[in-house]
Subunit: 207 residues, 2 copies
């Protein structure tokens, strides 16, 4: 993960916290408060917010609502964008449950599976298709972002079709490293790697 990716992840995290504060009725926040909640330094928060072009008045703290708006202008696509999700096992369903309705500009709009019992259904307001129709549907709907939640044995084949259909960003939950062109952004979220890492630091903290 390079610096730019870490920065973007921080800025998206600021927004998540700011939205919660806004819903709780908070009007202003100081950089050190936001920093504390995100476990970064105040200087880092101020630098990040300058980079997105937010010119608040740090003497009185930042205005929560304005800051949310500035982050949205920096991060969000201009218009609402659809996301494809491939793999309707427990993980795929969990992602739909967690995600839809939580983002103003992003929405999972098409689901895919190879199991005939899982296709031609509506899950959380979203239609499911056979995986054979993947390329056609993503091209037709101009979908540029996809989630892979299939078993690792199927993941590379799914990725190939996604790339072929014009997908530019992939969130990959399968525990393999996908082989895709450099121009495609891939975020791996292998649960095994993550849990091994957490366990490593749990033991390290425990020494």
């Amino acid at each position: 993960m390079n610096r730019s990716e870490i920065k973007i992840e921080r800025i998206i995290t600021y927004r998540r916290i700011l939205l919660k504060l806004y819903n709780d009725g908070e009007k202003n926040i100081f950089s050190y408060q936001l920093a504390n909640k995100c476990q970064v330094s105040s200087a880092q928060v101020r630098r990040d917010l300058m980079d997105i072009g937010y010119s608040g008045s740090p003497a009185n703290g930042y205005e929560v609502q304005c800051l949310i708006k500035s982050i949205a202008e920096f991060i969000d696509p201009d218009k609402k964008q659809g996301i494809a999700l491939v793999g309707l096992g427990n993980l795929g369903r969990a992602i739909i449950d967690y995600f839809n309705g939580q983002s103003l500009k992003l929405e999972i709009v098409a689901l895919f599976d190879k199991n005939p019992n899982k296709i031609n259904r509506v899950i959380a307001g979203c239609h499911s298709y056979h995986i054979n129709d993947l390329k056609e549907i993503i091209i037709k709907n101009n979908i540029k972002t996809a989630v892979i939640s299939v078993p690792s044995t199927d993941a590379q084949q799914v990725a190939d079709v996604l790339v072929d259909g014009g997908i530019k960003g992939i969130l990959n939950y399968a525990p393999i490293i996908l082989n895709v062109p450099d121009s495609i952004y891939v975020q791996n979220r292998d649960m095994i790697t993550t849990l091994e890492k957490v366990s490593y630091f749990a033991n390290y903290n425990n020494k």
Copy 2:
């Protein structure tokens, strides 16, 4: 995420790739090949492997089996460790399905939920308990690592009990930032933040 965390994540990823190569019958690998598969530089791979104390012979490539062993000595706990998982919705079940049997030294050994229909059951060989018994069970079994896969409204309360019971590392899938002591290692894996990030880079790549 600091440098040390990123390094540990890279080393764990090397192992995942090496295990796959080993199962495919590969005996040796050059640093540039491993680097290509992980999308990092060869120099980075060599530096990381020196740091874990692996002294291979780069002229003929690294021996896959020895390298796996060296990484295991560096990363893995000395003996098998149990993990607690709290929240038996779709996500919790997906994590159990993905994880158990995939790691030699880590195993999810206790499940928790507040829904009476989901407790006192055996899921993938693992017993489920009522969340009221969380603290008692993790202390009794000396569990130091936990996964939170409950809705965000319940996550902080669960984290408080985990910390109280001696947990040192938390993998948090709920879309909130947990408030825990500095000594506890928390890895947030909020799906909303992640998908917003992937979509940002998908659009960025698309420009």
